[in-house]
């Protein structure tokens, strides 16, 4: 009888400890995240509406309805129509955007745009990089890489296809002086794409 009582005691204790552990776990899980702020504004926005330009970028009005956008830091320029808006993106890249109403620009609510980025590197591994990028994106079903020559510049046109917003948006990449220059077109039709590529130069 003494043994049985002892067994019952230990079983009670083990059951109690298991419950305690489970309770502590769920209590921990139900707590708000430690870094969630207590007040209304969680993170101060860093993208206040602004038309300032990325470092090294200048815009020159050519007086013929066009303007010349020069990125002296990365060594390229592109001539675009005056009604396009030249902006610095939240990641400090250069973008050329078309808005429905230039007198009432609502940041991010553009009709279409191209984002221009530059990074150190080359295109030696573009095939495998593109393949892996598609593989890592659960929404990506296929990809393509085409060679395109525009205004004397050889571009690789990369497109990912799948059932998701942003599918089929083309990215044109080329390399120059150890840098990869990328033009990523969002919501853009062929006329805008050709317009930018035909007027892009180093």
């Amino acid at each position: 009888m003494e043994v049985n009582k002892r067994k019952v005691f230990w079983m009670d204790l083990i059951f109690f400890l298991i419950l305690l552990a489970l309770g502590a776990y769920f209590f921990y899980k139900s707590a708000p995240p430690a870094n969630a702020p207590g007040s209304g504004n969680v993170v101060t926005s860093t993208s206040a509406v602004s038309t300032d330009l990325p470092e090294g970028v200048t815009v020159e009005d050519l007086g013929d309805g066009n303007k010349l956008v020069k990125n002296e830091k990365d060594g390229y320029s592109v001539e675009v129509k005056n009604n396009y808006v030249i902006e610095k993106t939240p990641d400090s890249n250069l973008s050329v955007s078309s808005y429905p109403d230039n007198n009432n620009i609502k940041k991010d609510l553009f009709d279409y745009r191209v984002v221009m980025t530059t990074k150190i590197g080359n295109l030696d591994n573009i095939n495998i990089d593109t393949k892996n990028a598609c593989k890592d994106n659960l929404d990506c079903k296929s990809y393509s890489i085409d060679n395109v020559v525009k205004n004397g510049i050889s571009w690789k046109k990369i497109m990912y296809t799948g059932d998701y917003l942003g599918s089929d948006w083309p990215e044109f990449v080329t390399e120059k002086s150890g840098k990869i220059i990328s033009l990523y077109f969002q919501y853009s039709d062929n006329s805008f794409i050709n317009e930018v590529l035909n007027n892009f130069s180093f």
Partner: protein, 794 residues
């Protein structure tokens, strides 16, 4: 001690249960109905409907309304008509928080107090925990790809630990899509933490009504009080309320659609909630014919503003009607529709504009605005002369009063005549004035030779139901008549009539063409006759089978230029029905349900096979047989193929490994062709190259083009002429059609130059073996420069 332990254990179990179930509630993810933002639209690369789609998901959460592509289109239409936001082929326009608020209140059924704009994470989290859905303004993929992502609306459905759950309309697997909390907070912050919390529609009003009930279930309110007009079409009402896509009408740059509205300002006095018929006359001042189902009258001011005028006969809540009939350039047409007057006394302006639908695009026709000023007055308002009240709308008291007045007048007439008779005895009766036409004959009360007449009741008959044009050989006509008239002769032949005193009907057997009918009603004694004439045209002959012709045009985007024509010797052609199907389809698809057009440029895809059929309908509804009856006419769409890609060697075909890689062209024409400026484009997923051609290729001869390094796994080859037009192609980029296992060099040859280069069955491995000793390279396993349909041995 044992009792204390058990007590502690029970206490802990109770505390644990609270914690456990509390945590379960915190991890609850709302079951918000889900729909993708595409379709509608032209593709995933262009869709901007995330805002409207997110709203519709919330709307459906509260109302249970079905989500469909049409509901998204309805919001796009509404945004265009009310805020000028481009429909953009139903890709929509990017929307902002203010737009969603407007949609919720003015398009949907939410009240101002149901919408809470919030920038607070705690408020948003609290809302989710209280089962309130929240629309958040963030980025695609929660901006995990930085600038490669764009601003995007989603419905927040749950927050649990370090994960948020959203209904992301931009992904096929978007239902309760999980994102890291930190990623959400970052993406959200870049949009100033913009969010909309949705309470059940009308929740404050209902809370006031149920304030005394402490246990009132807040979340049952939605379906009970969401009593706005059902703006979203269901399966049964889609044809009435929803817009449907029409086929895109071909037009050139010179086509002008413009209009002027005749009498564009009208005033009407009506009773409350009276249904009145409106006719708007418009002149086609453009240079092209308007098709009646493509030109419509649309209200101005949006659905809610015009709800007070809405009548169930409207095409949609924004579109009262379409044209009554086709209107040629310079002609005047009409829009006929009903509107309901508002229930409150007052003055109201109903406004509408003319709109043209083309495919999925809507555009204004002219700038005139039709304005109808409705003055809603009390009951005694006289029915406006311009607008007929709906039939049978005279109340019974008015009918009784009118009947009594008629009887009194008749009695007075009789009394007057009896007085005349007594004061002028001896005069004969003119009661035998037979042959009364359908308008009553006048009594000949000539004052100079006063005739004394016994007044006879006015004999008449009417034909109230008779077609002037019909396709039915046996046709029934009917009407009203005087009670005394019991016999009917039609063209002097007795006819059997069915009568119930004052009404009559009879059946006619018509002959093809015009039927001139003389109707003679008479009384029992045949002493009194009333006659009238009637013409009915019988057209029971269907239009001829339509002749359909097609011309393939590959100059620009491939398209078939279709034309069709039929004839009708009877009432004349009214419209055509045009349908198509792909060879792989079983069901026919509609191109035109009704069109008077006889041509169409139909976009096609190379290598696909299409079938078209046309049916003509005449003005009385006779339908011709389909144009493809007993003669299927599938059209295989292919390039023009004056020169074809005839043979391919992607590895040297000489046993000795020499000879290089090449593509052979074949000129199937009867004349030589100059290939200067022509090109071969050879590409696959990872590379592409262009070979510019030169020189001539003789008639029915071959030309071999050397190409370096053709991929062993397959390529796509496109042959273009000097103008850049594609002449032929073979797409084998997914793998060569023949010799798939590359073991040794044999060429691949096309079997027929007239069949598609994209057809796998049109290619085979070359089976030749030739010695060409001059290059000292051994056997050649190809028919390079020779006919493919022969085998060459030695």
């Amino acid at each position: 001690m044992g009792g204390q332990r058990k007590g502690l254990l029970y206490l802990f179990i109770i505390i644990f249960s609270f914690l456990f179930f509390g945590s379960v509630r915190a991890e609850n993810v709302l079951d918000v109905p889900f729909i993708l933002q595409f379709p509608p639209g032209t593709g995933w690369g262009f869709t901007k409907n995330c805002g409207p789609t997110s709203y519709l998901m919330v709307d459906s959460f509260y109302t249970g309304r079905n989500l469909s592509v049409q509901t998204i289109k309805d919001v796009d239409d509404w945004l265009y008509l009310n805020y000028g936001k481009s429909i953009n082929n139903y890709n929509g326009s990017l929307t902002d928080i203010d737009d969603l608020k407007n949609i919720s209140i003015k398009f949907g059924g939410f009240f101002d107090e149901d919408i809470e704009l919030s920038n607070s994470f705690n408020e948003v989290k609290s809302a989710i925990q209280n089962n309130l859905p929240v629309i958040i303004k963030v980025y695609t993929n929660m901006r995990i790809k930085g600038d490669y992502d764009v601003v995007h609306f989603m419905v927040l459905t749950g927050i649990s630990g370090d994960t948020v759950y959203t209904n992301d309309p931009g992904k096929t697997a978007g239902k309760n899509k999980a994102y890291p909390l930190q990623q959400f907070l970052y993406a959200w912050s870049l949009q100033n933490n913009a969010a909309i919390i949705f309470y059940p529609p009308g929740h404050e009003k209902n809370l006031e009504n149920h304030a005394s009930n402490l246990f009132f279930d807040l979340f049952n309110l939605g379906t009970n009080i969401f009593d706005i007009q059902n703006i979203l079409p269901n399966d049964n009402s889609q044809n009435v309320k929803g817009e449907t896509e029409v086929a895109v009408q071909p037009e050139n740059n010179n086509t002008v659609y413009t209009a002027s509205i005749t009498d564009k300002n009208q005033t009407l006095e009506v009773e409350p909630e009276q249904v009145v018929d409106i006719v708007v006359k418009v002149k086609n001042t453009g240079n092209t014919t308007w098709q009646k189902n493509l030109i419509s009258l649309n209200v101005v001011g949006g659905e809610l503003e015009n709800q007070k005028f809405y009548n169930s006969s409207w095409k949609t809540h924004l579109r009262p009607t379409v044209l009554d009939a086709d209107v040629g350039a310079g002609e005047t047409g009409t829009f006929s529709f009903k509107i309901k007057s508002p229930e409150d006394i007052g003055s109201y302006n109903f406004q509408a504009v003319i709109v043209r639908q083309n495919g999925l695009q809507f555009s204004n026709v002219g700038s005139d605005v039709f304005v109808l000023n409705l003055k809603v007055k009390e009951k005694e308002v006289v029915v406006h002369p311009v607008v007929p009240v709906e039939e049978n709308n005279i109340n019974i008291l008015d009918q009784v009063k009118q009947t009594v007045d008629d009887v009194i007048n008749k009695v007075n007439d009789i009394v007057d005549n009896v007085k005349n008779f007594l004061s002028h005895p001896g005069s004969g009766s003119s009661g035998s004035s037979n042959n009364i036409t359908n308008t009553n004959t006048e009594n000949n009360n000539n004052s100079s030779t006063p005739a004394i007449e016994i007044p006879e009741s006015k004999l008449f008959f009417t034909v109230s139901s008779s077609p002037s044009l019909t396709n039915l050989v046996t046709t029934t006509i009917s009407g009203e008549k005087s009670v005394e008239l019991v016999n009917l002769e039609i063209n002097n032949v007795d006819s059997i009539i069915s009568t119930s005193g004052t009404t009559w009907s009879t059946e006619l057997n018509l002959v093809e063409g015009e039927n001139d009918l003389l109707l003679s009603f008479s009384n029992l004694e045949n002493s009194k006759v009333v006659t009238g004439t009637l013409q009915i045209v019988l057209d029971s002959t269907a239009p001829n089978k339509s002749v359909v012709n097609s011309v393939l045009n590959t100059d620009d985007s491939p398209q078939l230029n279709l034309t069709w024509q039929s004839e009708d010797s009877g009432s004349g052609l009214d419209y055509y029905i045009v349908e198509y199907k792909m060879s792989t389809d079983t069901d026919w698809q509609s191109i035109f349900e009704k069109t008077t057009s006889t041509e169409l440029n139909f976009p096609v895809v190379i290598s696909n096979t299409y079938e078209f059929r046309v049916q003509a309908v005449d003005k009385v509804g006779n339908e011709s047989v389909w144009s493809n009856e007993s003669e299927d006419n599938p059209i295989l769409v292919d390039w023009s193929k004056e020169v074809v890609i005839n043979e391919i060697s992607y590895a040297p075909t000489y046993f000795g490994g020499c000879g290089g890689e090449w593509v052979e062209l074949y000129n199937s024409q009867n004349s030589d062709l100059d290939l200067s400026g022509w090109s071969l484009e050879i590409s696959n997923v990872i590379s592409s190259s262009t070979v510019v051609l030169s020189g001539f290729v003789s008639s029915t001869s071959y030309k071999v083009i050397g190409v370096s390094n053709i991929s062993d796994t397959g390529v796509k080859i496109i042959l273009k002429n000097s103008a850049g037009k594609i002449i032929d192609e073979t797409d084998q980029s997914a793998g060569w059609f023949a010799t798939p296992s590359f073991t040794h060099a044999r060429s691949m040859e096309r079997i027929s130059a007239s069949l598609s280069g994209n057809s796998k069955n049109n290619w085979r491995e070359n089976n030749s073996l030739r010695f060409q000793l001059q290059n000292n390279c051994g056997q050649n396993y190809s028919s390079q420069g020779l006919d493919n349909n022969s085998y060459y041995y030695l």
